[in-house]
C-alpha cells in the first residue's frame, strides 16, 4: 500500500469519528479528479460541477460502508462513473447540445500561440466526438486514454472483468475514430477491396 493510499484511509477513519477537517482534506485532495472525469465524460462544466457535488454527497453518506480493501480514489471514481452514466441515461433523450470547450480555462500547453490554438481545436473536435460514443465504451476510453488508469484499476472502477475492459476500450476507440471520420452510420458498408 502506498503512503498516499494509507493517508486516504486514515482520513476516512477520522471522518468516521466526525472529524470535519479530515473530510475537508479528502474533498480538496480529490475533487479535481472527480470534476475532470465528469467533464470529460459529459462535456459540460456545469453538469460536471453538479455531478461532482453529487458524488461527494453520495460518498459522504456511505462512508461507514467504505471497504478499506479498496483504494479511496478507486471508490470515488466508481461512484463518479455510476452517477455520470445514470445522468447520461436520464438525459440522453434531450436535444444534444454542442459540447462546451472549456480548455481555455486549463493551463496552456507548450508551443507557439498558433500551435496552441490548433491543439485546442483538435481537443475540442475529439471531445465533441467522444460524447457521441456509447456510454460504457466512452467511460472506458476516458478512464484509460485520458485519465490513464490501468486495466486492473478500470476493472475495479467499472466492476467488470479485465477482458470486458479491454474489449470496451478497443470498441470505444474504434467508435470514436469512426465518429471522427464521419463513418459512424456507415459501419461495414465500405467497398470490399
Amino acid at each position: 500500500m502506498t503512503e498516499d493510499a494509507s493517508n486516504d484511509r486514515n482520513l476516512v477513519r477520522r471522518c468516521l469519528k466526525r472529524d470535519e477537517d479530515a473530510w475537508n482534506m479528502l474533498i480538496r485532495k480529490h475533487n479535481r479528479r472527480v470534476y475532470n472525469l465528469c467533464y470529460q465524460f459529459c462535456g459540460s462544466t456545469g453538469t460536471a460541477e453538479d455531478l461532482t457535488q453529487d458524488v461527494f454527497l453520495k460518498v459522504y453518506g456511505a462512508l461507514d460502508r467504505y471497504n478499506f480493501e479498496m483504494e479511496f480514489p478507486t471508490w470515488l471514481m466508481a461512484v463518479a462513473r455510476n452517477l455520470c452514466i445514470d445522468h447520461y441515461r436520464q438525459h440522453k433523450r434531450e436535444k444534444v447540445v454542442d459540447i462546451e470547450d472549456a480548455s481555455h480555462i486549463a493551463a496552456p500547453q507548450g508551443g507557439s500561440p498558433l500551435a496552441q490554438l490548433e491543439r485546442r481545436e483538435a481537443h475540442h473536435r475529439i471531445h465533441s466526438a467522444l460524447v457521441k460514443v456509447t456510454e460504457d465504451l466512452r467511460m472506458a476510453v476516458v478512464l484509460r486514454d485520458i485519465q490513464g488508469y490501468s486495466y486492473d484499476e478500470i476493472s475495479a472502477i467499472t466492476g467488470v472483468p479485465i477482458g470486458t475492459v479491454k474489449s470496451r476500450i478497443n470498441r470505444g476507440r474504434l467508435e470514436l475514430a469512426r465518429v471522427l471520420v464521419g463513418e459512424h452510420t456507415a459501419v461495414g458498408k465500405g467497398v470490399e477491396a
Partner: protein, 205 residues
C-alpha cells in the same frame, strides 16, 4: 478481408496484439483501401490527443460548496457541541418540547400565575428532553409532533393542537411500554411524559 473485418481488427493491429497470421491480410487491405487506412491514422492520432487532454481546474469555490452541502446540518450541531459542551439534540428537543408546552391550549388558557406555570413547564420540558436524548428512538415522534403542531399553528387550527398532543402522548406511552418490555429504558422514564408534565402543571395551578 473486407472493410468491416479489417476495422474490427484495427484496435488489436494498432496495439500489435493481433495474431501474426492476420497481419498480412490487414496490411494488404490497408494498402489498397483509403478509408480504412484513414481510420487507422485517426485512431492512432486520437490516442495521442486523448493523452494530452487538458485537465481543468474546478471552480475555486467547488470544494467549499461540497463541504457546505455535506456538513451543513452537522455544523449547526457541532456548534452547540463545541461552544456549550452539550450535545445539540438536547437543545433541539428541548426547544421542540418547550414550544409544544408553551403553545398547548392548557397553557394558553391559564390566567393564574402564568410565570410559575411556565417555569414548571420549562423545567419539565428540559428534563424530559435530556431524558429523551438518552433514547434515540424517541426522537422521531418528538420531531413529527413538533412539525405537526407548527403546521396547525400556521393553519390557525389551534383547536386541533390538543388532539395532536393527545395523540402524541398515547403513541409515546405505547412506545414507552414497548421499550420497557424490551428492557431498553428504566421504568422511571415512562412516567415522565409530556402529558404527565402538563397534568402536573394543571394540578399545581
Amino acid at each position: 478481408m473486407n472493410c468491416e473485418q479489417v476495422q474490427e481488427l484495427l484496435p488489436e493491429y494498432a496495439d500489435r496484439q493481433i495474431r501474426q497470421t492476420l497481419v498480412g491480410g490487414v496490411e494488404e487491405h490497408l494498402h489498397q483501401c483509403h478509408s480504412c487506412s484513414n481510420l487507422l491514422a485517426v485512431y492512432r492520432e486520437n490516442i495521442e490527443l486523448l493523452a494530452t487532454f487538458p485537465l481543468l481546474d474546478p471552480p475555486a469555490d467547488l470544494g467549499d460548496r461540497i463541504l457546505e452541502r455535506t456538513t451543513r446540518r452537522r455544523s449547526v450541531l457541532a456548534y452547540f457541541d463545541r461552544y456549550f459542551g452539550i450535545p445539540a439534540p438536547v437543545y433541539l428537543s428541548a426547544a421542540a418540547a418547550l414550544l409544544i408546552a408553551l403553545l398547548s391550549p392548557a397553557f394558553l388558557k391559564m390566567d393564574t400565575e402564568p410565570s410559575r406555570a411556565a417555569n414548571k413547564y420549562l423545567h419539565r420540558a428540559w428534563s424530559y428532553s435530556v431524558r429523551m436524548y438518552g433514547r434515540a428512538e424517541g426522537m422521531g415522534q418528538e420531531i413529527a409532533t413538533f412539525k405537526n403542531v407548527l403546521m396547525l399553528i400556521l393553519d390557525q387550527r389551534v383547536d386541533q393542537i390538543q388532539d395532536e398532543l393527545e395523540n402524541y402522548s398515547t403513541r409515546k406511552e405505547k412506545s414507552d411500554q414497548q421499550s420497557s418490555q424490551r428492557g431498553i429504558i428504566a421504568s422511571e422514564g415512562s412516567s415522565l411524559t409530556l402529558q404527565g408534565a402538563r397534568d402536573h402543571v394543571l394540578r399545581e395551578s
